[in-house]
Symmetry: C2
Subunit: 222 residues, 2 copies
DNA sequence: GCAAAAGTGTTTGGCATACACCCATGA
DNA sequence: TCATGGGTGTATGCCAAACACTTTTGC
């Protein structure tokens, strides 16, 4: 082990957990109790324990502090500004976590959780440098939505092409052309018809598609 | 500050410093003296000091342990495997650093440096998880070479299109078509003629191009 | 039959690819 | 004049973009 007199920066992991709620991208926030930011909203985070990887810390903090189990977790960036935590020197490894609607329904709303879902657009003036971390996570999501099928981790097992398009439009913050969108997505071969259809509307039922099992060949860590 | 009894994972920064030496991509390695890996090659790295950002740690470690000053430094990924350092719990923020030939000539070869340049292809069986870190850094370089002008940080102020093409080919590990390469690069508008030409060969002199000052609009952190 | 959303094809322009010869120089 | 690397243009295919009407359903 290292000499005991060496001072380390402390190491934490923070999670940007995102999910669609009624078509709006929401982020899971807690209310901090630390004196410096008392009452402010913050991303759920915790110090990395000696026996944990950063990934494991994120999974733990999401479960313990936010009542969440996310199927998709990805490291985004490590924030190390010296004054980012007023309590002392804390470096934070930031993660993005994505929840499908199914996972969203399983969010434990235990009373000890002060966690809430907040639309990303209204999540500002957060504690620490969490505005910056949130922005980085959303930027990562936007970038990856363009060249991977990451969006599957925010959507139900089966959904219509219209729902899919709306999800893309929400994340990318721009309108897409319906015919080109469909052509492109179907050409990618990541979707297959389920044979089922929506029902209940006073209009033509929509074909329900499912993501085919991931090839696993998606480049990460870039 | 945090209660004193809390145990932290220690935090380090490691640098993958890359430069072209005679057309071959080389990485700067040191020889570790720590008992667990004694004599093995490793990336230069150091613990992050309480008053430093990770970026600053990298700049310091490159200067102190590798005699290097790099114009370009970018964070790649944070490695947190529990057993990655046999001495104890150390999480490492990995960076890529790029040196131009000019910076390469300024590398301080002081005798206390055990640092050497090693072709990336022969840099394996490194200490810790540095094989993995090196691979991640090279992957990042390959990815960014495709959609940014990051390669400018590995090249001299002025170079020929052939040299530029060879640099791309070395990094991407594939051959490119000369005419298409030139069309594409010149169309991007990041190069301008210097008006100067190479000389000395028994063949037609080549036009020397320079990178125009960066637009600064390159997306980072993705 | 009408309101509402689902679904569908064609045209166009730009960009990546493939490919082969002439040019300028020094020896 | 020859050997060497520098430099150029055209044809093709694919993919992204633009764009409007028909279909199916419930009421």
């Amino acid at each position: 082990m290292f000499p005991r007199h060496i001072k380390f920066a402390a190491l934490a992991a923070d999670a940007v957990a995102l999910s669609f709620i009624e078509g709006v991208l929401n982020v899971r926030l807690i209310t901090t109790q630390v004196p410096a930011f008392k009452g402010k909203r913050a991303l759920p985070g915790a110090l990395i324990r000696p026996h944990e990887t950063a990934d494991q810390t994120v999974a733990r903090v999401l479960a313990e502090k936010a009542g969440i189990h996310a199927s998709y977790i990805e490291q985004v960036y490590t924030f190390s500004r010296v004054d980012r935590d007023r309590r002392g020197r804390v470096v934070s490894v930031a993660y993005i976590a994505l929840l499908t609607p199914t996972e969203l329904t399983k969010v434990a709303e235990r009373e000890e959780h002060t966690a809430i879902w907040v639309p990303v657009a209204s999540a500002n003036r957060l504690a620490y440098d969490h505005d910056e971390i949130l922005a980085a996570a959303v930027a990562r999501l936007q970038a990856k939505v363009e060249y991977t099928d990451i969006i599957r981790h925010l959507l139900p097992k089966a959904c219509t092409l219209t729902e899919l398009q709306e999800a893309y439009e929400t994340i990318l913050k721009r309108k897409l052309d319906k015919r080109n969108f469909r052509k492109k997505l179907l050409a990618q071969g990541v979707l297959k018809k389920t044979g089922k259809h929506t029902s209940g509307g006073s209009f033509r039922p929509a074909e329900l598609y499912a993501f085919v099992p991931s090839k696993g060949g998606i480049i990460d860590l870039i």
